[in-house]
């Protein structure tokens, strides 16, 4: 079985997300590679929620909308997604409440009175989930013992009742296909947000600070839950302004710190970002992108904050921006972002989005490159300590409070080497140049990293240019079309050298982005590249390989 997609849908509050996760884990146990797309409205009860669980024999980082198997707990699920069903799809539905009208005779259906079973067992409505998951397992030829193990691991409340209800769903369904088990072992399944959190922990994170905002709040929840294990402090203060300023207070005291938000919260952080630039205090800032302007579509995805993050904060100062494309990149580059922040005493940004952050990926830690946890340049006790010592590369030694013999003065004003405010023109120029010099060193340093990924058909004359969460979908579409994929992971300092190398011999560049104006395309144009075509999607939903393939074909031939 390769490339099989299951859609489960229902109202918000039905537990669709959890159900999708359990199905994914069961299939993961069979040795498949998994990706789960989660689509939900900004509503706690009601509305329509669905998850697409896609399995493949190969690593995948995107979902498809050709549904092989639909699990419909309500009429909406069928009505809203029937146009996505494959010709020989299977539908498992609640036989009382879901009417399957107008489907072709090729479609196999299993109707089970889930509502009735729930009533008979006297259990809560949420257990319809367990029942339909079990019916799915039977229909897909998955052994009861595998399902039982997963349920035991995933269900924390009323396990016995859940198992009883599951057994009834399992027994009432019939085997229609056989999703056979693979010889490959299952890999851990984590979200992009979790991968970011783990990468930060790897790089020595001590404190995480955030104000809740979709799609980054799951990082706050994850790290708060794991704080004990990972030795973290997790703080949720009164606003994003406080989040960012607290982060700089922790950095001043020598603690590795990160913050997370989305575009709206990041608006409030910008004064702190500029302070990080001036006071040379390291901070890692995760910006999970969602469609704007303003409140926009809170629970959907976009790639609209590249320019915002690139230019945020008054004045001119160096920064580091990375946009990982899958779980492994999220882990690796989050750790590197922390290293960069501390090595160069700058703000470092991790640009994520809802699709990356909340999508569920397989994660193979052993395939990730080595991460060295770098120590910042330490201050010595040469009296007096100069927090902003003007060094040839611009990086001043760091001392932290309390350090005997050192008076450590951080300052938001222009300042001298000691950190005392100045308005002297020569000193102003000198210190501005000192800060900007750090970027030159960082650019050299980045030569040691693979800042641009190249994949697909390497000698193709057409390249698909993408960034962030579009990596997976572009890889699949380009592979089928014989195109090359070029994905800058580091977006600032702009990886000019590696992009030139990656695009040498390419005659046509098609830029794929989830925004309406083509921000990467503009940034490329600023650096002398000609973007021939742009494929932009800005309805909050991710590209799927099939749709993208069609659009790429058109762009390549047109």
């Amino acid at each position: 079985m390769d490339n099989f997609s299951i859609l489960i849908g229902g109202k918000a509050g039905f537990g669709i997300d959890k159900a999708g996760s359990i199905i994914g884990r069961a299939l993961n146990q069979l040795g498949y590679r998994i990706y789960i797309y989660r689509d939900y409205p900004s509503i706690i009860r009601g509305g329509h929620t669905f998850s697409v669980i896609r399995i493949s024999k190969k690593r995948i980082a995107t979902h498809r909308l050709n549904i092989d198997l639909m699990l419909a707990l309500n009429q909406d699920t069928f009505d809203l997604h029937k146009n996505k069903l494959n010709k020989q799809a299977i539908i498992i539905h609640d036989s009382n409440s879901v009417k399957l009208e107008g489907i072709s005779s090729d479609i196999l259906t299993i109707g089970i009175p889930f509502d009735a079973i729930i009533k008979e067992e006297g259990v809560g409505e949420i257990m319809r989930n367990t029942c339909i998951i079990a019916a799915f397992a039977k229909a897909a030829g998955i052994e009861w013992s595998i399902l039982e193990n997963v349920l035991k691991k995933e269900i924390t409340k009323e396990l016995e009742l859940n198992l009883k209800v599951a057994r009834r769903g399992y027994d009432q369904a019939k085997e229609l296909i056989k999703i056979d088990s693979q010889s490959t072992p299952g890999l851990p399944m984590i979200t992009g947000n979790q991968a970011i959190g783990l990468g930060l922990v790897k790089a020595g994170l001590k404190t995480y600070i955030a104000y809740p905002m979709t799609p980054s709040s799951p990082i706050l929840h994850f790290l708060a839950e794991q704080a004990q294990d990972f030795g973290l402090k997790v703080i949720h203060p009164e606003s994003e302004i406080s989040v960012m300023l607290m982060a700089l207070g922790f950095a001043y005291a020598g603690e590795k710190v990160a913050v997370g938000t989305s575009g709206g919260g990041f608006c409030l952080m910008t004064e702190g970002v500029s302070l990080s630039g001036m006071a040379e205090l390291p901070a890692v800032i995760i910006v999970g992108q969602r469609p704007g302007p303003s409140t926009g579509l809170p629970t959907y995805s976009s790639q609209t904050e590249l320019f915002f993050v690139l230019f945020a904060g008054q004045g001119e100062f160096p920064r580091f921006i990375v946009a990982p494309g899958d779980a492994e990149e999220s882990y690796y580059w989050s750790a590197i972002a922390m290293n960069m922040a501390w090595k160069y005493q700058i703000p470092a940004f991790i640009l994520s989005d809802k699709n990356l952050g909340e999508g569920v990926f397989n994660f193979d830690i052993d395939s990730v490159g080595e991460i060295k946890v770098e120590k910042p340049l330490a201050g010595d006790n040469k009296s007096p300590y100069k927090r902003y010592l003007n060094t040839p590369d611009g990086v001043s030694p760091l001392a932290f409070v309390p350090q005997q013999g050192a008076v450590i003065k951080a300052n938001s004003y222009e300042h001298d080497e000691l950190g005392i405010t100045t308005e002297d023109p020569q000193l102003t120029k000198l210190m501005q140049e000192k800060r900007l010099r750090k970027e030159k060193l960082m650019v050299q340093d980045l030569d040691n990293y693979k800042t641009v990924n190249v994949s697909g058909h390497l000698d193709a004359s057409t390249a698909v240019l993408c960034w962030g969460s579009n990596k997976g979908v572009c890889a699949e579409a380009a592979d089928n079309l014989g195109l090359k994929v070029v994905q800058p992971v580091v977006l600032w300092p702009f990886p000019l050298k590696q992009l030139k190398e990656s695009l040498s011999g390419v005659k046509k560049i098609i830029c794929v982005e989830n925004n309406a104006t083509g921000q990467l395309a503009k940034l490329m144009a600023d650096h002398g590249f000609t973007i021939d075509k742009k494929i932009l999607r800005y309805d909050g939903r991710p590209f799927t390989p099939d749709e993208l393939e069609t659009a790429l074909k058109e762009a390549d031939n047109g």
Partner: protein, 286 residues
């Protein structure tokens, strides 16, 4: 340092406060308190000063101790973080009335709510000095500033009442004409375990000279039980920062209560093998 010699904590910065500025009283009183603290055994490096932006904030340029010269309104979150990171540190925040009670009031309220062990010294002169004379949250009704030439149409905040209801556990008031009292309450505030705030009626000689006004109305509290919340509330309401009533000086409220740092579940105490913990987590995620 020679125990008998007072450290002047001098820096290379040139002092640019106006002659007669109320900030000098705060400056001299706090340096004297720092000398006392150091004599009593507080390591010099354990003192951390944080300031916002305004005339008040220049104080951190003038004192050769650890300092974080933050943004307008944003001294408090920085100070909170420094205190959480280093519970042994003495964190003293200098802030103006525009800075603390205007732009930064959300942080101030939450810091008091958390009862985090930092000391706020408010240089409250009822006027923006550094931006040349606009009204602040504590300017009296009808104040004619450069942004309100016809006079303000709003009453001032009573900051101590706001702080009391927010959960502050040490509140005091002083004036820039009372150096000895300032020394006493600064010391008490710093030694107090929990959120402390000293509202200093500090006079801006250039834009709003209120020396005479205060001299006529201030009195020092005597035979007063600062532990009594209701009495404190009454005393704090006696002068609403607007009407011409007597103005009480000294410690207005004191309470022992758990601090944020004490109650915050510290999960960062033991060194961890992060790689091992990450692999454990992944193992459970298959």
């Amino acid at each position: 340092m020679d125990n008998t010699q007072q450290n002047n904590f001098g820096t290379s910065a040139q002092n640019t406060w106006c002659p007669g500025c109320g900030n000098f009283a705060i400056f001299n009183a706090i340096k004297s308190v720092f000398n006392e603290l150091i004599l009593e055994g507080t390591p010099l490096e354990n003192i951390v000063l944080v300031a916002g932006i305004g005339c008040h904030a220049k104080i951190v340029d003038y004192i050769n101790l650890n300092s974080f010269y933050s943004l307008h309104g944003r001294a408090v979150p920085v100070a909170e973080a420094i205190k959480i990171a280093g519970p042994a540190l003495k964190v003293i925040v200098f802030s103006g009335d525009g800075d603390a009670y205007g732009e930064g009031i959300e942080h101030l309220i939450f810091s008091a709510k958390r009862n985090i062990d930092i000391t706020m010294v408010i240089h409250n002169n009822h006027v923006y000095g550094l931006t040349t004379g606009q009204y602040t949250p504590t300017s009296p009704l009808g104040f004619k500033g450069r942004s309100t030439p016809q006079g303000t149409a709003e009453l001032p905040l009573n900051p101590l009442e706001v702080m009391l209801s927010s959960g502050a556990t040490y509140l005091a008031r002083g004036t820039s004409h009372g150096l000895e009292l300032l020394k006493k309450i600064f010391k008490e505030a710093i030694m107090h375990k929990g959120f402390s705030l000293v509202d200093v009626l500090q006079v801006c000689v250039t834009y709003f000279n209120t020396y005479e006004y205060y001299d006529k109305r201030v009195y020092e509290l005597k035979d007063y039980n600062a532990a009594d919340y209701n009495q404190a509330l009454g005393k704090i309401r006696e002068w609403d920062y607007n009407s011409d009533s007597p103005i009480a000086l000294g410690a207005l409220y004191k309470k022992d209560a758990p601090t944020f740092e004490d109650s915050f579940i510290r999960t960062d105490s033991a060194p961890i093998n992060s790689e091992g913990k990450i692999r454990d987590f992944l193992q459970a995620s298959v």
